[in-house]
Symmetry: C2
Subunit: 349 residues, 2 copies
């Protein structure tokens, strides 16, 4: 079998590469039936999310297949986790412009295997298609949660402290590194470690699984940040009927991102508007914030207070001197941007 | 608002066109959260299926949007129903090559509304994307079923009677009508009613919802026929470790399909291998067949015995004189066919 040997039938693709990913789920029937069964657990309900990634939009066509697999699953798991749900399984719909090689498919399947092991979930079923257009991977992810406990987007309350996990802006910078490392090195004067860090933050989002129980315990409202802090916080505010105040200086940045932001005016707002971070944004009652931050820290995740929920509407970002910042670009939208949109990161609803 | 006015943002698309489709499901939160909640019912479990349809493969780019919507949902519901499951809800991932017009989107949403009303299910969540390639609609459909009762593909037993619902081959002929009605009329000499019938069978598959309870009561095994009878029956046989014998003369055809088959050698096997029928194939113990057929008839669905499950392996199709037929084309496969594949119908795993 050569490296470029192409997979000759859907049957070969399913039984040779995908069925092993379903081995852990009795309800997947080894991908040897038309549907899967999802059995509920007493006192729990399911949380559902679907999100697609496509070549040229969410990854580059020649990216390593294992990384594409990771990202396809991670962007969905990120949503589940931010709602306080524990991953269970997923359906996957693959659209190939041409039949993949065995080599590509093996690396992709290995990447999925690693990702689903990391997230503790199993492939339950899927669909494979060949059609024109970019390679795309559509995942429908399923999590479980104690009944009635999903952490909503619409339940932030005035007075709540706003917290974010990790650091913001890295992935938007990482996409730039990924598209042209030499240019990034020259312009940003970062060392290899700094460039690698940013690129990995773009290529390999890390859903904050360890936050799940603490979100359920402490948060009024939460969501993942995928289209940029200001845009996603704006969504939380609109859904909750509240406003928010964010202190720019408190928005957490990694050291390499900080270096870029401090050097170049054009990237100054990247932590506020850059997408693809897949960090958690949570609104937490003031009395809970300290406990939440402490519990997260013990789980290895840094949470940073960035502002407060206020009565009213809209997101105000304040500079160090207290004056409101004008936000140049609220984040990505598929339908309102021009032909340059392909260079930008994006995410679903 | 003109007919060609384009939708300017994802928010406008979701809140203006999709949120009304989720109004019936409390767990969809008006599409105003990042995830949906799916609450189980005591004694039941869920059945899951994902299948995608794309322009140029499963429908033509200029087909009426309401029809595209119907088909996208129906091909998934067909799988649920054939397993004995009752539709509950669905997630939908839309990929647009360009932002749709309001007019197109309204017709699409109206078509979805009609389809989900017919199938008694609700939109639970989704994702919208703009990317190169054909318009594609990926549905993940969810049904419910009494615990442990999903009608499997792998449980057909020697001696079972094989039954199919409705008539076969219509949709493959209907695709030909849809691609060039004038040619179909000239070659087949069908009247308008005949051509319309076949075309509708391609455009508007009708999942056999009224069979659900009777499948649960009587069937050993079942699946929907989407890639052609011989191919799908072959899958049932392989999964069950059995063989099958089919009498060609008993395979039910509609009058217009019969007329084409009797006229033209090239279409002789269309009822055996034509795809996109979305009828139910069931294996039923001999003692149950009469009751099953009777119950289905009272529900308005004709079931036709076409052969038997036998020990061994493989599907044998017998001509009227008892001699085995050679099947020219076992049905569609995405990965093993050449560039002409786009003219053929197809289906997922």
């Amino acid at each position: 079998m050569t490296k470029t040997s192409v997979i000759g039938s859907e049957e070969a693709l399913i039984q040779g590469f995908l069925a092993p990913l379903a081995a852990g789920a009795p309800g997947a029937f080894g991908l040897n039936d038309d549907c899967a069964v999802l059995a509920p657990v007493e006192g729990q309900e399911f949380v559902l999310k679907t999100d697609a990634v496509a070549a040229g939009v969410h990854f580059l066509p020649h990216d390593p297949p294992a990384g594409i697999a990771w990202k396809a699953l991670a962007v969905n798991v990120s949503d589940l986790v931010a709602k306080g749900a524990t991953p269970v399984g997923y359906l996957m719909s693959l659209a190939f412009p041409e039949a993949p090689s065995r080599h590509w498919m093996q690396e992709f399947a290995d990447g999925l295997a690693a990702a689903q092991r990391h997230f503790d979930m199993t492939l339950l079923g899927g669909d494979t298609d060949r059609r024109d257009g970019p390679l795309s991977i559509t995942i429908a992810a399923i999590g479980r949660i104690p009944r009635g406990r999903m952490v909503r987007r619409a339940t932030a309350r005035p007075g709540d402290v706003l917290l974010v996990s990790g650091t913001l802006g890295d992935a938007a910078l990482g996409l730039f590194v990924h598209q042209g490392r030499k240019m990034a090195r020259l312009v940003w004067k970062l060392d290899k470690a700094g460039l690698d860090f940013l690129e990995q933050r773009y290529l390999r989002p890390e859903p904050r699984l360890a936050l799940v129980t603490h979100l359920l315990e402490h948060a009024s409202a939460a969501m993942d940040i995928s289209d940029g802090l200001v845009k996603d916080l704006g969504r939380m505010c609109r859904a909750s009927g509240v406003g928010a105040r964010v202190r720019e200086i408190d928005v957490p940045c990694s050291p390499p991102a900080r270096k870029v932001i401090d050097q170049l005016e054009g990237w100054r707002q990247v932590a506020l508007t850059g997408g693809d971070d897949y960090e958690v944004l949570a609104a937490v009652p003031p009395g809970e914030a300290e406990k939440f931050v402490g519990a997260a820290a013990r789980a290895g995740i840094i949470l940073t207070p960035i502002g407060e929920v206020v009565a009213g509407s809209g997101v105000a970002v304040l500079a160090a001197d207290g004056s409101p910042l004008v936000i140049d670009d609220q984040g990505y939208d598929h339908f309102s941007e021009g032909p340059g949109h392909r260079r930008r990161r994006r995410r679903g609803r």
